[in-house]
Symmetry: D2
Subunit: 247 residues, 4 copies
C-alpha cells in the first residue's frame, strides 16, 4: 500500500508489476524485500510511504457491489457477537464480503464461517475478496436462499438482509442455547419489525444500538472536529437465544 | 451467568457452590451439564435464564480499580490496530486488564501480548482477571516503568497512561515499520500534546476519533432512544510508524 | 434567584419574605434595591450570588405535570416556526406552559398566542406559570379539544399532543398560506404517522430533525465533555402550508 | 421565495422584475397580491410554490464573507443570552450580520443591538443584509476595534471574534450585573483560553456546549437519518457577570 503526501492511497500486491498513479509509476519490483514504513519514489520522483495495509484499509478500497458494514459498527458487532478463536458462525447474506472477512479474522484459522448468499454475482465477488485477503479457507460459501433455513448450528449469526424479520425462526433454529444474533438494518421501520419478531420467537436480552463516530483534524494548535461526518449507516440489533421450554 | 426477569445479572462459575442473589439462592450444582439458554429457578422459585457470558458481560462485571476501555471504543481500536491471529502486541499500562484481555483474544492462542504496568496492585488485579478469563497464557505481564522503553518489537501498541506524550519515542522504537499505535486519553489538552509529539517523532496517518453510542428502547410500537447516554469516555488517537530516513 | 457555591439554585420573588435553604435562610428584604450579580449571605453566613433568572432558569425550575420542550430544542423550533414580534400563533396542547411561554416571548407585547388544552388541570397550571413569568396578557388560554379545529387563522402552529397525526387537517385549515407548523413527538412510530399525514394533506418542505447537545466540564487544563448527556427528548417535524389548488 | 419540485429555492423581492432560474423565468409581477403558499408557473410552464421566506431561509441564502452562526446553534444562544423584547445587547464582531439580525429580531422594535466590527467591508455587508431584512433601525453599527472597550452597558453580549480571550475584561465592563455573555469558537484550544480568562475575570455559571443536529429522510415507510450531517460548527460558551466585591 502506497500513501502519498496528499494522502491518496493505492493498495497493490508486490508482484513485480507497475502501478500507475497520478504521481507517476510505482515499480513494485523496487519494493521487494524492503521494510514497510519506508519512503520510496515513483518514476517521476514523487515520494510515497509503503505501508502494510490494515484490514480497515482493505475494506475502504475493496471492490463492492453492496452497502458494507463500516469499521465504526464492525468492531462493536464482533464484540457483541462474542466471536473468538475457534468459533463457528453464520454470515447471511454475504454481500461483498466485508463483514464475512471480519468474522473470518475473528474465528481464526481453526474456526469457520458459513456464509450464505442467494445472488450468485455477490457470492463470486465475496469469494474474490476473501481470496485476496487470504481468508477463503476459513469460509464455507453457500449459494442458497436462507428462507429454507441454515445447515449448521453455530455460536453466533450475523444477519444482513433487506427483510431480516422473515428469518428470525431460522436463526433461532441454528443457534446454540444462549448463542448470539446480530442484525443490521438502515430504517426504523425495519427495526420495529425485527424487534417484534425477536420478542415473539424466544430471543432475549435484545439491545438496539447506533453509533456516531466523529473525527478531529490533527492540527494540535487548532484541535477541532472535521466539519462533516457520517450521520447514519445502520441500526444494530443484538439478541440471545433462550429456550422456550424450561429444562 | 444468570439473568433474571428484572434484567439483573450475576456472573459465576458452575463449580457446585451456591450463589446468593436478591431473588434467592442459585445452586450451581443444578446447572451442571445443563444447556446454556435454559430457564432455571432459585431456591425461592424465582426464574432465571442461564447464559454463557460474553466477553462484554465479563467486562461490565469485572473487578476493576481503574477506568477501563468500554466496548463502544474497544472494537474500533482492535480494528484500527489491525490485531489478528498470531500478532505480537504491547499493552501499556495494563490497569485492570480489560483492553489487555481484548488484545489477547484477538491475537489468539499463537499470538502474544506484552503487558506493562508499573503499579503492582494493578498488575495483580489484571493477572487475576486474565486468569479467570482463561487468557493468562497469551499474556506476558511486566512490572515495569515504560519510560525505560519496551523489551520487544511488535506489530501494534496500545498506550493508555495519563501522560502518553512522554512515551512516543519508546513506542516508535518498539514498532515494526508501518506498525500501528493506538492511544486513548480523556481530555482535549492531552490530545493536543500527543498529536504534537506524534508529528515530531516519525508517526504518520494520524487520526483522532471519538464515538457516541446510543441505545434504543425495545418496544417496537414506541421505538425511541433511551433518555440518557454516555457522552464521553476518551478520544482515540491512531498512528502508524514511518521510517525517518529514506531506505 | 440565588446561586450558592455548590451550584444549588433557588428561584424566588424579592417580596420581603424569607426563603429557607440547606445553607440557611435568605431574607429577601435585604436584597431590595441591590444590584443583580452581587454576593450576599444567608442568616448562617453562607454566600450566594443573586442573579436575574433567565427564561431557561425559570423552565428548569418550573412547576410541571408534563414532559416539557427543553431549551436544546426550543430555540431551534422558534427559528423554524419563524415566530417574530407581532405574530399570531397557536400552541396545542399547552401542557405545563413552557413552550407557550417561549412563543409568547417571541411574539412580543403586540403578538398573541392562542393556547389550546383539553385537560383543565394543565390549563390552570399553565396559567399559573404564565402569570408568574408576566406573559399571561399575550396568551389566550382555551379549554378545548382540538379535534373540533381551531378558532383562528395564524402565522404558525406548534403541536405537541400524543396523537398529532389526527390533527393535521385542523392545522392546515388554521394556517395562512406558507405558514409554519412544528410538531414534536418522542417515538419513531409517531414520526412515521405524522409525516404520512402531512404528505397527504397539503404540507410542503417537510423536515425531520433531532438534536444532541453535549456539555463540557469547565476545567481549562482538562477540557473534556461530561460523562453523560441527554440522548433523546423528541423528534422535531417542520412543514409549511401549500394550497392544494393552483391560484 | 420560489421552491421548485426539485427543492431548488430562489429568494427574491416581488417588485415586478423577472427572475431567471434553471426552470425558466419567474415574472414577479404575476405574484403581486397573490397569497403565499400558492403554486405558480415560470414562462416555460415549470411549477413552483411561492413561500414567505423564513429568517432561516434568508440566512441560508444570504450574501456572506464570513463563517456564520447556524440555526442549530443560533436558537440556543438566543435562549441562553435570555434576549427578549426591549433588551439592549452588543454583537461583536458583526461579520456578515446573521447573528446580529437574530439578536435584532429578538429585542424587537423597542430594543437595540450595538454591533461592533473593525473591518469596513464586513460592516457594509452586514448593513446591506440588515437593510434587506428590515432590521437596520434596531441596530447601531459601529466601525470600531473592541480592544478599546464598548460604549454601552447592556443586558447581554454576543462575542464572535478569533481571539475572544483578549476581550473578556471589556465584556465584563459593559454588562449589567448578572448579564449574559455568549462566545463561540471553533477550536478546543480557544475554548481552553476563553474559560481560563472568564474564571479569572469575575464570570460565573460558565457553561460550554456543542450541538449535533441530525436530519431524517421523509419517507414514512423507510424512516432513517440522512447519510451525512454537520459534525461541528463551534463550541458555545456561556457565562454571567458576578460583581467582584461583595455589595
Amino acid at each position: 500500500m502506497a500513501v502519498f503526501e496528499d494522502e491518496s492511497e493505492f493498495i497493490f500486491t508486490v508482484d513485480g508489476k507497475q502501478i500507475g498513479t497520478h504521481k507517476g509509476i510505482i515499480k513494485t519490483e523496487e519494493l521487494v524485500d524492503k521494510p514497510f514504513g519506508g519512503t520510496f519514489h515513483t518514476h517521476t520522483g514523487q515520494k510515497f510511504v509503503a505501508l502494510r495495509p490494515r484490514f480497515v484499509d482493505e475494506i475502504y478500497h475493496m471492490k463492492r457491489k453492496t452497502q458494507i458494514v463500516y469499521p465504526k459498527d464492525m468492531g462493536f458487532i464482533l464484540l457483541m457477537l462474542d466471536v473468538k478463536e475457534g468459533d463457528k458462525v453464520i454470515d447471511a447474506g454475504v454481500g461483498s464480503g466485508a463483514m464475512c472477512a471480519a468474522l473470518a479474522r475473528a474465528v481464526g484459522s481453526c474456526g469457520k464461517v458459513f456464509a450464505y448468499e442467494k445472488r450468485e454475482e455477490f457470492l463470486k465477488l465475496a469469494e474474490e475478496n476473501l481470496r485476496k485477503w487470504g481468508l477463503l479457507d476459513r469460509v464455507v460459501l453457500k449459494l442458497k436462499d436462507i428462507s429454507e433455513g441454515f445447515d449448521e448450528v453455530v455460536d453466533a449469526i450475523f444477519l444482513d438482509v433487506p427483510d431480516p424479520w422473515n428469518y428470525i425462526r431460522q436463526c433461532y433454529d441454528s443457534l446454540i442455547g444462549s448463542g448470539n444474533l446480530a442484525i443490521v438494518c438502515p430504517t426504523t421501520n425495519q427495526v420495529q419489525q425485527v424487534v417484534d419478531e425477536l420478542q415473539k420467537n424466544g430471543f432475549f436480552q435484545i439491545e438496539i444500538w447506533e453509533s456516531l463516530f466523529r473525527q478531529y483534524k490533527t492540527n494540535p494548535e487548532r484541535l477541532r472536529p472535521f466539519d462533516r461526518m457520517v450521520a447514519h449507516t445502520a441500526y444494530m440489533i443484538f439478541a440471545r437465544k433462550k429456550y422456550f421450554k424450561e429444562v
